[in-house]
Symmetry: C2
Subunit: 219 residues, 2 copies
């Protein structure tokens, strides 16, 4: 509740003045730090196994201070989930399908999406995969809506691939299989491993696309 009134204040600020005050900027930074720190802990231990005190300590704050930025632990989870999903989605939507052949389009989106999923540094995205389900009520519905936009986008990618004969199917189930395989990488990828995120993306693309054409290239 305190947080909401703050946001209003900040919004009024940008409306009435040339630029926001420095105090607001630093608040926004702290807020984003909290989101990132919380996301890392949520991913490691799970939402409910992570205490707000864990988050505070990892952010060099005292136990009550996260609640200056977020009204509740739920809100902190939601902020991370929503922003990272929207960031990732708009990144994918920014690619123009008409500017490249279907296979390149498929490859480009897979690289971008997986790059975000495996971005363990500033990465809030990897947390989303498992933890969004702990959101309740309104928050949960909003996330479900965003996930549907992902599915629709990927559906389009597969339809282009199918038209080009590079993939046998573009129905909802086929897309679900693919997205599961994509998200599943988060669970077995290790940062120091043999393959980079980009190489894994290419590998996944190869695995799925153009079986007949590809079968010659495989030694």
């Amino acid at each position: 509740m305190r947080y909401i009134s703050r946001i209003r204040k900040s919004t009024e600020g940008t409306e009435n003045m040339a630029r926001p005050k420095r105090a607001d900027i630093s608040d926004v930074n702290r807020r984003n730090e909290l989101i990132a720190t919380a996301a890392k802990l949520f991913k490691e231990k799970g939402f409910h196994a992570t205490t707000t005190r864990d988050i505070a300590k990892a952010s060099n704050m005292k136990s009550g201070s996260p609640f200056y930025h977020f009204a509740s632990k739920q809100d902190l989870l939601f902020a991370g989930v929503e922003s990272s999903l929207l960031d990732c989605l708009s990144m994918l939507e920014a690619v123009d399908p008409a500017s490249m052949p279907p296979l390149d389009y498929f490859r480009t989106l897979t690289r971008l999406h997986l790059g975000r999923l495996l971005d363990t540094d500033s990465g809030v995205v990897p947390m989303v995969v498992d933890e969004w389900r702990h959101l309740e009520g309104e928050h949960r519905e909003q996330v479900v809506a965003i996930r549907r936009r992902f599915e629709r986008l990927w559906r389009g990618v597969f339809e282009r691939m199918k038209e080009a004969g590079l993939v046998p199917r573009a129905d909802a189930r086929a897309v679900a299989y693919f997205l599961s395989a994509l998200q599943g990488v988060v669970s077995w990828y290790r940062p120091g491993g043999a393959l980079s995120p980009e190489q894994i993306a290419d590998d996944l693309v190869d695995w799925l696309s153009g079986f007949p054409e590809r079968s010659d290239k495989i030694r």
Copy 2:
């Protein structure tokens, strides 16, 4: 601790007598009830969001009673995870690869595995997918070991498929993609839906196997 001594007692019983006492049987039943009830709740809300009181109430017990059967909440989770993984694994291992062609073998195992994964009634398996990671120490390591046996088994299935030219690859990554797609079904399957678990299994098999051969059959 109390639980361990009970198990010992029960084992001695079966050694010394023709059959176990009725009291032991009913204890075992209650124990299995607890595992099933807990699994359902763990799956719905997650391990840490489920309290031992929730489990007790759903099992028509008072709050302290689950600890008569299990020394800790962790032990209760582990019992469900381990037993259901081993059950599922031995079911898959019971199929003789030599008794049928590669595609049938692939299909049979996929049906069996998915059938278990979607068994929401007596189903402890669906819970395992997300919740095993909340196990700690020794328990966790044991589960990781069992999971490796799954991967090895499926690796063998893919190798047979590859030899028959029905699949382009049988490396560890290809198997990981497949297992992710398989486990991912748990997250979107709805019991009253258009397809039965068996049909979904067949669909998944079709999606992956023999792209060139299959492409004719698709309208």
